[in-house]
């Protein structure tokens, strides 16, 4: 038999124990459960909060105390170009992923179980297989004598090879490829939640297909589009591997700049400040998203 305070719970059924004692025991048991979160909390403290705090400290303390690093980042033309690149690429990637993701989510929403699952499985696989490997594949595919260029040439569409890599085109193709799932999944769940009766009602009221799409279907999809677009935009702001591999010297993005400053130039203060700007933008975007749609609330049942 067990010993210790746990055993006493079995006494609860017939137990004529005083109320206060029982409540105290319960509190103790549940208090003990709460302590189970401590290891995870310590991990988050030492490998998340502390590094981030350290970075913030370094950004305002090195090489000397003050906001000099931030001023340098925002004033220097070279760094401003990097910021501009980052926002441009993130915006283009967001628009392209939404334009491609929308019909794909729609197709999955209307296809039968088998084909829907097949497409979803494919998207899921591409989401969970190596980012590095897939970026590498695109690097080879998009080369000037690569498969894509030779195929286009063979079809007679182009006479000279297109420069598809080591520039912004390459970065956009690679990042669209990698971020596509993040717009398809939220869109799909929004579309699946749309009441089909709503569309039928619109049709019964005399709306044609185009009016139905524009005035009923599309507005109903807006939350999904917004969630997916925001997600893709924020994620692309911080991307490192794909832009480095598929981009060129003129398409440097914020993440690459941070790594360059810290690892090659050892300018920790400046690098930390750049990292903090990225962090702040990301947090702001997620705060916006939390305001619009609370993922935790929606995860706990309800839509």
């Amino acid at each position: 038999m067990q010993t210790g305070p746990d055993k006493t719970r079995s006494v609860q059924l017939p137990g004529p124990a005083p109320r206060g004692w029982r409540a105290a025991l319960r509190a103790r048991l549940e208090g003990a459960t709460a302590t189970l979160a401590i290891p995870a909390l310590l991990l988050v403290l030492f490998f998340f909060l502390l590094p981030v705090a350290l970075l913030l400290a370094r950004s305002i303390l090195e090489p000397e105390a003050g906001l000099g690093n931030y001023a340098e980042l925002l004033q220097s033309g070279a760094y401003r170009t990097v910021l501009l690149n980052t926002f441009t690429i993130a915006s283009v990637v967001t628009v392209v992923t939404v334009l491609i993701g929308f019909p794909v989510a729609w197709l999955i929403a209307v296809s039968n179980r088998f084909w829907g699952m097949a497409l979803l499985g494919l998207i899921f696989i591409s989401m969970w297989t190596s980012l590095l490997t897939r970026s590498f594949a695109w690097l080879i595919l998009l080369q000037s004598n690569g498969v894509i260029n030779r195929m286009l040439k063979g079809l007679g569409l182009i006479s000279e090879p297109l420069s598809l890599v080591n520039n912004m085109t390459g970065v956009v193709i690679g990042m669209t490829y990698i971020l596509l799932p993040f717009v398809i999944f939220p869109l799909l769940s929004t579309m699946r939640a749309i009441e089909p009766g709503l569309l039928r009602a619109a049709a019964l009221c005399g709306a044609n297909r185009w009016q139905c799409f524009l005035h009923v279907f599309l507005p109903a999809c807006v939350p999904g589009i917004a969630a997916g677009a925001l997600m893709v935009f924020v994620m692309s702001l911080g991307y490192f591997i794909t832009p480095v591999m598929l981009g060129g010297s003129s398409t440097m993005m914020l993440a690459e700049l941070i790594v360059h400053l810290v690892q090659s130039l050892l300018r920790w203060g400046l690098g930390a400040a750049a990292a903090f700007i990225l962090f702040a933008i990301t947090l702001a975007a997620y705060a916006l998203q939390l305001r619009l749609f609370d993922p935790l609330r929606s995860a706990k049942g309800g839509r």
Partner: protein, 265 residues
Amino acid sequence: MLLDFRHLGALRWVLVAIGLLVAGFLLLPVVFIVLLSFGSSRWLIFPPPGWTLKWYEAFFADPGWFAALGASLRVGLAAAVIAVVFGLGAALAMSRGRLRGAWWLHMLLLMPMVLPVVVLAVGIYSLALRAGLNDTFIGFVLSHAIVALPFTVIILVNGLNSFDPSLEDAAVLCGASRWRARLHVTFPSIRLSIITAVIFAFLISWDEIVISIFMAGPNLQTLPVKLWTTLRQDLTPVIAVASTMVLAFSLILLLIAAILTRRGR
């Protein structure tokens, strides 16, 4: 009618065409890299002049690649175990304990997923340099565990929420200790979530590259780091072999996860 395939009219063929193109777009790089690893061209020309296994021989003959593969497996396993054990504790505390700040705790634990990984990487690097954790096994494991933790928390909280806590309470009422009840009633019931969490935590570590680039040193580098450094020096077909290995391993694990989820229904 816009949500019914049969009533979409000509539009459905447009959707199907886009779907096929996107499916091809998603599959192309994965299939391409596997084919490339068997091609005989030193210069990664495709379609290759012939097929060969010599790049695989070169991969396994090179102690550097082999060591990286071993390091990735060890780091991945250790990081997965830590992320799942810590995540399970946190999930129990949040869904079972009467914790006032449960929402905040949940948000805090999900934060590492939200932060751009490059920021986390630079931060951890800065800390690791001071703590002497760079180029060490423990440094790799803990920094991978923090990236995997949000995912294990999500999976395990979902698992616990779909399990009726009164079953555990019943076991306790029948005389089992709280821990015994968990071990014999709760954990077996959510074993599917636990296994899924282990698989995905491993996959995250297996694929982690940005933090690893900073963590790696002459002593220890994982397979993606070795891939990355080799890539920047020289585009050899052995990279395609290493990529295929990374892909194959991920696909096998995903398949296991899918089969388990299926069986669980």
